[in-house]
Amino acid sequence: MSKFVCLAMLIFLCLMNTAQAHRIKVFAWVDGTNIVGEVYFAGGGKAKGAKIDLLVDKRVVANTNTDDVGEFSFKQMEAGDYQVKANAGQGHVATFAIASSEFPTKSISRSDSIELKLPELEVVQSNHNVDRCQILYEAAMSKAIQPLRNQLDQYEANIRWHDVLGGLGYICGLFGLWSLMRTRRE
C-alpha cells in the first residue's frame, strides 16, 4: 500500500514541474570585440550576481559579475582562446570555451555596432571593399545564428521525460538485480 502512496506522490511531483533542473550553465559569444554571455539555471531562472572569470590557459585575465538578468560582458578583448568560468556559489560552477576563430578575422574600426548596407554589397570593386564586405558578412552571420546557438545550448540542458523514466528504470533494475543476487546466495 505504501508503495502506491509513494508512487502516487512521485507522479504528482513529476506533474508539478517537468523541465526544471538544478545545474547552472554559462553561454558566451563574441560580439565585435566584446565577449558577452549569460548564466542561467538549466530549465529556467537566471543566475544573478554570479562570479565570472575569464581565463587564458588556466590564468585569470579578467573577472566580473552577472547583472540582474544574469548577463555579463567583457569589453574590448583581443582575439584568442578563452575559457569563461561562472561560479554561482554553493558549488555551482560551469565553464564555456570561446575559440579564437569566433573573433572577426579582420578588425574594423567601429566593430561594436555593425550595420549591413546592402547597396555597398553590390558595388564592391576594390580590395578594401571586398575585405570590408567579408567582415560585415561574417558579423551578420554570427549575429543571425546567435539566437539559434543559444537555444541549442538551452535545449541540450533541458531535462527530458525519457531521461527521467530511464533513470527510474535503472533504479528498479539495480534493486531487482541486488535482490536476485541475494536469493542466489541463499
Binding site: 506522490m9 538544478h22 554553493q90 560552477v93 535503472y170 539495480l174
Partner: protein, 201 residues
C-alpha cells in the same frame, strides 16, 4: 546540494569517496530482502525530487527528502542516495562525477544522523512534528556540510555558510512540511512500517 566538478580540493574529494564507500558498505549489509522494494521506491523519490526547483534569490533550491529517507531507512540512505546521485550526474549533469563521494556524504550522512536521533523519540511526539523535524533538520545539516566541504577547499566559510543557510532555510521549512505530510500519511496507511511510530492523536 550538488557540487560540480572542479570546485573541491583533492583531499576533500578523497575523504568524501572513502566515507561514502564505508557508508554504502554498512548500508548494503543492512539491506534485508523485505526492505529492498521500499528502498528502491525511496531512491526513485529522491531521484525525481531534485527535478523540482524553486528559484530563490540569486540561486535556486530543490527538495531532497533526506530527512524522510533517514527516518525510514537509517544507514540504507547511503546506497539509496548513491544510486540516485549517480543517475542524476549521468543523465542531467547535476553535480560532477568525481565529487559523487562528497555529494553523497553531504546528503546521506545528515539522513543517517537525523534518523538515528529521531527514531528513539518517535513514541514521544506526534507524527506531524516528527516528520517536520526530520525534514527540516536534515536539510540544514546538509547545507552545513556543503559549506564545510567548500570551506575545506578554500572558500571563506562564514560567507558561504551564511548564503547556504539563508538559501536553505525556506527549503528546510518546505521540506519539513512535506515530510510531515508524508509521515502522517504513511502512519495512517501502514503503521507497522515504523515499527510503532505513533501519533498521539
Amino acid at each position: 546540494m550538488h557540487i560540480a566538478d572542479g570546485v573541491l580540493a583533492t583531499p576533500v574529494l578523497m575523504a568524501g569517496i572513502a566515507m561514502t564507500l564505508v557508508g554504502t558498505a554498512v548500508g548494503l549489509r543492512k539491506l534485508d530482502d523485505d526492505k529492498i522494494p521500499f528502498a528502491a521506491v525511496l531512491s526513485a523519490c529522491f531521484f525525481v525530487a531534485s527535478l523540482i526547483h524553486i528559484p530563490l534569490g540569486p540561486s535556486s533550491v530543490h527538495l531532497i527528502f533526506n530527512g524522510l529517507i533517514g527516518l525510514l531507512l537509517g544507514w540504507l540512505a547511503f546506497p539509496v542516495m548513491l544510486i540516485a546521485l549517480i543517475l542524476q550526474a549521468l543523465f542531467f549533469g547535476f553535480g560532477g562525477i568525481v565529487v559523487l563521494g562528497v555529494n553523497c556524504l553531504n546528503i546521506a550522512l545528515p539522513a543517517v544522523i537525523v534518523g538515528a536521533m529521531l527514531r528513539p523519540l518517535r513514541h514521544f511526539m506526534p507524527a506531524q512534528l516528527l516528520g517536520f523535524l526530520a525534514g527540516s533538520s536534515a536539510v540544514l545539516l546538509t547545507g552545513l556540510m556543503v559549506s564545510l566541504s567548500l570551506y575545506l577547499s578554500g572558500d571563506a566559510f562564514l560567507t558561504t555558510a551564511k548564503v547556504v543557510f539563508w538559501g536553505n532555510l525556506p527549503l528546510s521549512v518546505l521540506e519539513g512540511v512535506i515530510s510531515s505530510f508524508i509521515i502522517v500519511l504513511l502512519n495512517k496507511v501502514k503503521p507497522e512500517m515504523f515499527k510503532g511510530i505513533q501519533s498521539n492523536v
